[in-house]
Symmetry: C2
Subunit: 244 residues, 2 copies
Amino acid sequence: MSPTPEQRRAARHQLGTATAAPATRRGPSGGRKKPITVEAIISTAFGIVEREGYDALTMRRLATELETGPASLYAHVVNKDDLDELLIGRLCAEITLPTPDPATWRAQIISVCTQLRDQYLRFPGISRATFAAAPSNLDTLRVGEGMLAILLAGGLAPQVAAWAIDSLNLYVNAFCLEVSVARTRRSSSEDDWVLSHAEALERFAALPEDFPQTKRYAAELTGGTVTDRFDFTIGLMLDGLPGA
Amino acid sequence: MSPTPEQRRAARHQLGTATAAPATRRGPSGGRKKPITVEAIISTAFGIVEREGYDALTMRRLATELETGPASLYAHVVNKDDLDELLIGRLCAEITLPTPDPATWRAQIISVCTQLRDQYLRFPGISRATFAAAPSNLDTLRVGEGMLAILLAGGLAPQVAAWAIDSLNLYVNAFCLEVSVARTRRSSSEDDWVLSHAEALERFAALPEDFPQTKRYAAELTGGTVTDRFDFTIGLMLDGLPGA
DNA sequence: AATGACATAGAACACTGTTCGTAAAGGGCG
DNA sequence: CGCCCTTTACGAACAGTGTTCTATGTCATT
């Protein structure tokens, strides 16, 4: 028998054994352009998210893009959460993990975090799916394994390394989610999206008297690029780690 | 005229001036038990979230709890996002901000973060609303002002303090969101929710051979209480700060 | 007393994820 | 070759969601 979506999902979580069987049967649509595989679903889903953001990724929208109805997707995907998990798995699979080097472990872990950030920001809002996804996915675990290897090579205690990985992953996800939300809000609220920084500074400066520090340091609070803040926090976390 | 929900919301974002006018008119329900004010909406919303989680907070559920229809809520609240903003505003209003003390600035900022964490975890899943809420809310800004004052009293450079506040807030929100998601998943997936730690450890130990570090340090990866991880990361960030 | 303002809802719209039942296509078998 | 039966595909529908239109009943005011 060909693998049901449930079996596929279990295999991704190292629960069941691998099931082969290619199964290239065709349906009532005859010789269509594309036989609607899981791969096709994932790639078109990424296309939608990249173009219109994660909020636009609905089962109906995805089905329309594949020229079919929503019910057809459920033959290849358990549900929306399963699709989300497939997406973040694919995303994590794109991360290149360096071979651990004790001399440059900080630069190596920064590289992994930066790759994750770039991938997340490339597909706006997809980090929301990361929060909902269970951490037992094999592709996700692969990134964790790579990060753990880097930190251990850096001489960190196992417990410190484990918790640091958790913190870094959590921060990267949250950072990308916030950036994505801010961008969609900026582009949808008012027509003029350019005055984001200037307007924020002006508002902070126009606050009442019981916000003295916020008023005085409005420039610092609203200043800095996206990457500035990211680099600052990652550096903050890594500087606190007692590495070799 | 009585303030429309839009005017209320603008006032919360320091845009318009304050508008008084209590306006105790009654509707077709006559002398009902409660005249359905914004305050009543907020408090019952908090009750729903505290009991059943943020996912259960729908406009219909909230209206049913208030013994009315969904449309009645829109006379007091702009939309669901506005309600979310009211909730996190109220949440932030509960935070007690210490008067800055240069000697104990680390303990003070930890206290604020811990208060935020406890408030968020008390209402499971509400941190999702925090990500969506604009940072220009007055109640939110009050907490930011307090944190900024503490860090400045600690001798930090304004730019460092500003970015550190951002990082800390972001991490606290993400941490609480992840904890809430994990808890709801654990309680809804299978009947036996007790074996969370043991099962996670067993799965990590049963991984294939290409996960050597994850297998070896499964105990460290799955170990530690919720507060352990929280304290670790907050400490990590604060230790990186060059304070007095 | 009549009037107009206003909080209150009932019904409906456009969505969402998901499932049921059915129709079409292909391979394995007699 | 022709039949059956598994597998895939998909239209229709269900239970939800946020939101809006419209009408209704009640109050304070003229």
